[in-house]
Amino acid sequence: MSETVKRKSDTKMVPFPSRAIVPERDLGKRPVLECSHLGIDFGGLRAVDDFNLTIGKTEIAGLIGPNGAGKTTVFNLLTKVYQPTTGTIMVNGKDTAGMNTVQANKLGLARTFQNIRLFNQMTVEDNVRIGLHNQIPYGMFSGILRLPPYWSGERKQHEKAMDLLSIFHMENLADEKAGSLPYGAQRRLEIVRALATNPSLLLLDEPAAGMNPKETEELMDNIIKIRDQFQIAIMLIEHDMNLVMGICEGICVLNFGKVIAKGTADEIQQNPEVIEAYLGRQREDEE
């Protein structure tokens, strides 16, 4: 545990603007995400209720909670897969009400998926190039007639894709089919594909699921490396507490769709409500 604690930056967590906390280094910069009173009903079920969260410009935030707590639903709300029943989502100060998933992506939200959703029939490089779709554009007629913008656009896409793949040292896999990659590599490719869309907030849905401890260690280093290199915020859902407590600065705990605790790793670990949600209530007679 002592080793993982060292990974965290020395920045103190400070209140912003009121109850929400962000890393001190992000003070004075507009937070990348501000959710207030976010909620969604599925029929009679309130899957997420009164969700408030602020994420600083370069924060690594964690979203944890027992199974079925509504974590992925929060991601789906943020990326506009679902439209919220109540509340607002501000990304880089812009209200995303009424936007669709494509617009949310253009605004700076990119994500990975709990059950990997790569384009399996396409090559690794083409998967990354899909992420670059709006980043390095050229017209369709250039594409059909292979005019100069086609060649320069394709060359730039190739260079950028290779550049991004090099984060995880995956350049040599560029021509493989994405579906044929081992599990851990598929998870890494999903991160690269999401990064290619040039996000300001990267949402990772269980990035370490199915990874062995060594791969998880590497992933932790890489998440920090990505944050530092691209100066973006990262929010992750994860069940691996080593990873969450090791790299997440602000942590938010969901249970039955409600936020039961927010704070730093130390605060969360000592919060009685969190312990209860994970381990159950202690029986009176045992106390």
Partner: protein, 294 residues
């Protein structure tokens, strides 16, 4: 032997037309997951537009072909926007019936505009034959141009789908619409582009087909449309190389069947192939088994 070669070449030529039409079916199926049964009638509209340009306006053949491609492209986008897009979330049966309705609508619209009497479509390709093997084997220019045009179309389409931004978007939308949208790919635009390309190809097919079989009437597109659908299923629906292979094989089977077995049963052979394929290999020659997510 020369008889066989001559039949084989006309089979490949007919098959090339089927292949171009089948490409439209297979691309739309791959991306929008629907069978566009109005596709065959877009061929007919393309042929009529070319006919009008040549006979009513006296334009050169090249302009006629380009004009018919342009009109069909717009028609394809319009059909998708008006008839299919509102049904994006509907059951596939509702979309299928709408497509059949659209097919009859186009046929009847053509009948209103151009009348029910067959028009004699004079070829846009110079008549004549290339004579080989000491005058024994004759290959018509129409066949040669048809085969050459379809090769060009297939190569261009493969390059476009395989190695361009929009082609990649088309492939990823066909795999996972949701993930594609979350990566910033505009799915509606991609589907429109697919319909536009498919319809432009249908226009080319219409002109080529009417150059070889020069009777033009409002139902001209129906039979080739159904056969091209068969070709797409034969090759594996959703697969672009499958549509090309299926189309050409089907044309060859039809012509050889007509020549050596029974001239009346040519169409029956085509559909017998469809039944056999569905019985033996339901995914088609190059089709992949799709695992439905539950």
């Amino acid at each position: 032997m020369t008889m066989f070669l001559s039949n084989l070449i006309s089979g490949i030529s007919l098959g090339s037309v089927y292949a171009i039409i089948a490409l439209g079916y297979t691309m739309v199926y791959g991306i929008a997951k629907m069978l566009n049964f109005a596709h065959g009638d877009v061929i007919m509209v393309g042929a009529y537009i070319c006919f009008c340009c040549l006979y009513n306006l006296g334009l050169p053949p090249v302009v006629g072909v380009l004009a018919s491609m342009a009109v069909c492209t717009l028609l394809g986008i319009l059909i998708e926007r008006l008839a299919y897009k509102p049904l994006r979330q509907a059951t596939s049966l509702a979309v299928l019936i709408t497509a059949i309705g659209m097919s009859y609508f186009l046929q009847n619209l053509a009948q209103m505009i151009w009348g029910a009497n067959p028009k004699s479509f004079q070829t846009v390709i110079p008549a004549g034959n290339l004579t080989l093997m000491g005058g024994e084997l004759k290959i018509s220019y129409v066949s040669m141009v048809t085969i050459a045009a379809s090769v060009v179309v297939m190569v261009a389409l493969s390059l476009f789908v395989g190695r361009s931004k929009m082609g990649r978007a088309m492939r990823c939308v066909s795999e996972d619409k949701g993930a594609a949208q979350l990566m910033g790919v505009n799915v509606d635009l991609t589907i429109s582009v697919t319909f536009a390309i498919g319809s432009a190809l249908a226009a080319i097919a219409g002109v080529l087909m009417c150059s070889a079989y020069p009777t033009l009437k409002p139902t001209t597109g129906a039979m080739p449309g159904i056969k091209a659908f068969t070709a797409a299923v034969f090759g594996g629906i959703g697969s672009i190389p499958g549509a090309m292979l299926g189309g050409i094989l089907l044309g060859v089977i039809e012509i050889l069947g007509r020549a050596y077995v029974s001239s009346e049963l040519g169409d029956a052979f085509v559909f017998a192939v469809l039944i056999l394929v569905l019985l033996i290999k339901p995914t088609g020659l190059l089709g992949k088994k799709i695992h439905e997510k539950v």
